[in-house]
Symmetry: none
DNA sequence: CATGAATGAGTTTTCATTCAT
DNA sequence: CATGAATGAAAACTCATTCAT
């Protein structure tokens, strides 16, 4: 059946796209990506029809990674605060270990070429978090704010906190904790 | 320090750069900018040596505008909360009236070509806000957080809030108020 | 002289090459041909060393088909006019039933990559028609014109007539007849 | 008013396009054209938005040249035969002096990318010849054939004749004359 | 100074051909 | 032999920047 399209190669391309985009922006030439992936220029296009499609795929990939990181080990049994803290930590820790991924995610978000279907798929992956919301609403733990707004607040604050953690690595742990406190105090009722 | 020929022309270029970048991203061709500004293609380069320099100048311009908007009518006499609320409202209102400027600001922030000197100049413009901090520290109004972190929190939360205001215009007023409450609760001591 | 594996596959490739070239021009990708032939991309190159060779082979194939169509049922016994009319009809009818083949033939003729050997082989196939000429010369049926010129006139006029037949299908029969009359009057002595 | 788009440069590009296309086919790279025209690669695109547009423009240009050549000195007063002969000679002589132009015209005709508007403009240029037809119809000089068919016959026969003239230059004069006779006998009543 | 044509390096993408499976 | 992924040399086109007018 000839050479099957290798998942490895696809991943290699996504990985170096992450690195190259982080360093040089989304306008980095595809040739930079393929050469970093040690792959022929043309090969990128056997895995992704266009550069835009690559960016969309990369976005989804990173988002799924991130959502995995946030959900893994999710403490269903604990209170809302603990659950949110788990999510916060998942987010922040993923960003700390995948700084390039996080940067690229930020760039893609302001980019403007995301397809609706990828946006939807990404939103779906984060849909799991709404279960937290359901409980929370029941417990009236939150201020009177729409859940999407609360999630968005968590995301931006976490992003921003990661910047500080990167800039002041020895204070990283402090920022991680205090960042969550800021968020929680802002969001919790009372 | 050069104010070459017509300040008007320079401003026209900056204005259409804002519009064009907002619509098409920073990778929009300079020709799109000059044609929108009804100016010759070459003229852009008599006012800005390179495209990168234009972007840097635009960044500074927008930041100064924004800081003006935030400071104008600043209530020196009122309490910390009121002062911060004034700043928040200034930010959010500027964003509401200058959506393109705000979008472009976001794009430039993730861009990667900002010169240190422009970053510094922009930071300087926001230095004024540190006076608030001094008082605030005196009053121990804030949690134990570095001021830059607090300012950054204000900025991201405001940015994000503006997104919601744009998306749900009839709830704009509500978001403006609740957004500040979220921020303040997150940041204020106790 | 090499009939590699399946004659079927070779023919499938030639057939879809005809179709694809007719639709998209000779610059159509080989991949379009193989996929239309339901054959692997690489297989084309086991039957034809290069794309140019495929085009040459296709040219010869179509020319042979055409000459067959023109010769089949050739009325050796009848007069020159009838014999030529038979040839004319054979040409025109083949073109009517194989519009794609005829179009492709035209494209290959202006192409510029035909090898001398294929040109020669094709000429040889049409050499049979010179027998008509021999008789004809004997009968002094033709004006004083070199036979190749006469054949060329027949071919172009037939090609052109087919265009009109395609464009005005309900007049097809008329064009077929009148076209031949034009040719014959142009070519016959007196 | 800066450097105005020079008609010269446009013509230089069209001229070398003619040469290059004649030698290498329409698939010749635009770079070959610009380098032959001693012009930067990009300059082609300031005069023609795309390669297709260049080909369309070239087609029109050549057609207009050809129609000029056919009409110049047109003998309005003479009989139909003489008028047609003038046209024939104009065609054939243009082809003899502009072999590349004629070849390129042939290639563009089988090409498939001509826009309707260019086809129309080209047809319009040849509309002048219909005056000949009007007279001719009055004089019942022609066989019962649609005029477009007659023009098409003239064109293909002339094209084909030019090929022979090129191949056998010392017989060129003979072919020119006999070619017309063939055409005229084919087309004239009686 | 303003203008916009000219430049050519750089970009994405295509495609004939090869070759590992 | 068949397969189709891999390759990388083009190719068309774009665009920041220069410079003749």
């Amino acid at each position: 059946m000839a050479k099957p399209k290798s998942e490895d190669k696809r991943n290699a391309i996504l990985a170096s796209a992450t690195k190259v985009f982080a360093e040089r922006g989304l306008s980095a030439p595809t040739a930079a990506i393929t050469s970093a992936a040690r792959v022929a220029e043309g090969s990128l296009f056997t895995y992704f029809k266009t550069k835009d499609e690559l960016i969309n795929a990369l976005y989804l990939e990173l988002k799924l990674e991130l959502s995995d990181a946030m959900m893994s080990g999710f403490p269903r049994k604990l209170g809302v605060r603990s659950r949110l803290e788990h999510v916060w930590n998942g987010y922040v820790d993923w960003g700390a270990t995948h700084p390039e991924g996080q940067q690229v995610l930020r760039q893609i978000q302001v980019w403007g070429g995301l397809t609706e279907s990828v946006k939807a798929a990404s939103a779906a992956a984060f849909g799991e978090f709404d279960r937290i919301a359901e409980d929370a609403a029941a417990q009236k733990a939150f201020r009177d704010l729409p859940m999407p707004y609360i999630w968005a607040a968590l995301a931006t604050l976490a992003d921003m906190t990661m910047d500080f953690m990167r800039r002041y690595p020895d204070q990283a742990g402090v920022y991680r904790v205090k960042g969550f406190e800021l968020f929680w105090s802002g969001v919790a009722r009372k």
